[in-house]
């Protein structure tokens, strides 16, 4: 383990700090009185540069703890804007930050936490064009993103530059963490040579995350980052840590370097950054993967028709727990149960299907049309659009 904790520091040409001021000594005193950190360790942190990819759920504890610990330079890469649904887990942000760029809001928060460090906000999406340039000035890259294309991009850029990649990812109640890209250690492609095809990743109906989970996984990443910088302890490199929050169990799996890895193996076949959206078979997380062309009805048209007393059957294809949040008094059949519950529907009646955003219900309409239903429409934009255009008392979620 000791050999692969050696990382090259990106401090060439810059004169490293050799002392701490009195205010810094006071601030970091609980580090300084530990022999495992001490003055020497604290100076290592002060001279270190860490780049956070993503300032969201994982990025929140990462940014807070690394700034508090006195990491000398923190880069924050995020193109996104704070919204209300972020506040449940992205604890760097306050209610007054809604609408601000995340990287800038996080920079302000961290600068307040520790004015003695340098914080750089990069209000940009990480791309194959800018990744190498962004990464090259940093010692450690921390992956706190939420999508496959960016994960492969971060991995490949780290391997090309020889930089460690502190990895964490989460799903609902479950998290994974490890360190990739150490000289003797595996990379993300050793673990997962290929991303899942878009159709097989859990749909938005099954998404969601318990707010504390990224706090725990991001904190593990922060700890691993600090250990790398201090050159202390046993890194998670070569081990995949699995965390199950419901069972409150940590497990550890062996993670081996694949000698035939196209990225970090003996015979590298990937020598530059590629188009990761193409590699992952998606054009960005924000764009819907499938554009089903099904007959639609707008919220305003639906309202008008209901008001004039038309006999319309409202089919809600969301999950029962979503129905409890809000509903349009429709008949609930979750999309996944539709094939075996199709007998509950009357094909002679006019049906309007809806979900939260209109995507799942488009699939439902497509399915039912193929099953012979002729009089079926999709509510454009789902409950979100209904709330915006017809009835603002219906909550958006």
């Amino acid at each position: 383990m000791a050999t692969n904790t050696e990382i090259p520091m990106a401090t060439a040409g810059v004169k490293p700090a050799t002392s701490l001021g009195n205010d810094e000594i006071l601030r970091y005193s609980r580090h300084l009185i530990m022999p495992e950190v001490g003055m020497e360790g604290q100076l290592k942190l002060k001279n270190a540069k860490v780049l956070l990819i993503g300032t969201g759920g994982l990025g929140a504890p990462l940014g807070l703890y690394l700034a508090a610990a006195g990491v000398g330079k923190l880069g924050l890469v995020d193109f996104d804007v704070v919204d209300f649904t972020n506040l449940q887990r992205q604890v760097t942000f306050g209610t007054s930050d809604v609408g601000k760029f995340k990287s800038e809001a996080a920079r302000e928060r961290l600068a307040n936490l520790n004015p003695a460090i340098e914080i750089v906000a990069y209000e940009t999406k990480l791309t194959s064009e800018n990744a190498l340039e962004l990464f090259k000035d940093y010692d450690v890259i921390v992956d706190g993103t939420d999508n496959f294309p960016t994960r492969y991009l971060v991995n490949d850029a780290c391997i090309l530059l020889g930089k460690p990649n502190v990895y964490g990812s989460i799903f609902r109640f479950e998290g994974q963490a490890t360190v990739f890209g150490m000289p003797d250690g595996p990379c993300y492609r050793c673990l997962y040579p290929e991303p899942p095809p878009p159709g097989l990743v859990p749909s938005c109906a099954e998404g969601g995350v318990l707010g504390v989970l990224p706090g725990i996984v991001g904190s593990i990443q922060a700890m691993e980052t600090i250990k790398l910088l201090l050159k202390a302890g046993d890194s998670l490199s070569g081990r995949l840590l699995l965390f199950d929050a419901l069972g409150m169990k940590f497990r550890e799996l062996k993670l081996r370097k694949n000698p035939n890895c196209p990225m970090c193996g003996e015979h590298r076949t990937i020598d530059k950054l590629i188009d990761y959206y193409e590699f992952c078979g998606v054009r960005g997380e924000e764009a819907p993967e499938v554009n089903l062309h099904v007959p639609e009805i707008s919220p305003k048209e639906l309202k008008a028709r209901l008001d004039q007393g038309d006999d319309l059957f409202i089919l809600d294809v969301r999950e029962p727990h979503e129905f409890q949040i809000c509903n349009l008094q429709g008949h609930l059949i979750p999309l996944g149960e539709l094939p075996r519950r199709v007998h509950e529907l009357d094909s002679s009646q006019e049906i309007v299907a809806h979900c939260r955003s209109g995507k799942r219900s488009a699939e439902a309409v497509d399915f039912l049309r193929k099953a012979g239903f002729k009089k079926i429409l999709n509510l454009t934009g789902g409950i979100l659009a209904w709330s915006d255009q017809v009835d603002p008392s219906v909550p958006k979620y």
Binding site: F171, Q176, P196, V209, R251, K254, R256, G336
Partner: protein, 94 residues
């Protein structure tokens, strides 16, 4: 031989919401066959149409990756744990 199969969160929807299940199998292939017989919907998430284990699904016997053992022919014995570990990216829908 009783082998415990750990089902990861993203796949529990296709496995009766179970976090784990016990199967009687002497190999990983046998354990997965029994699992996908019990929960048919899991099959397409674990295997390609050609019957190959999908490349974003890793399988471990105890803490060892079966790619570095005998792959799906890896033997399992009483008390072993077979873990299915798919890649997860973040999972927070926008």
């Amino acid at each position: 031989m009783a082998v415990k199969v750990m089902i990861p969160t993203p796949l529990r929807a296709y496995a009766g919401k179970r976090a784990s299940t016990e199967v009687a199998a002497g190999s990983v292939a046998g354990a997965l066959a029994q699992l996908t017989t019990e929960f048919a919907e899991l099959k397409k998430h674990l295997f390609t149409e050609q019957g190959q284990l999908r490349s974003f699904v890793n399988v471990y016997v105890n803490d060892e990756d079966i790619r570095y053992l005998a792959k799906e022919q890896t033997a399992t014995k009483d008390g072993d744990t077979v873990s299915i570990v798919p890649s997860i990216a973040g999972g927070v829908r926008r």
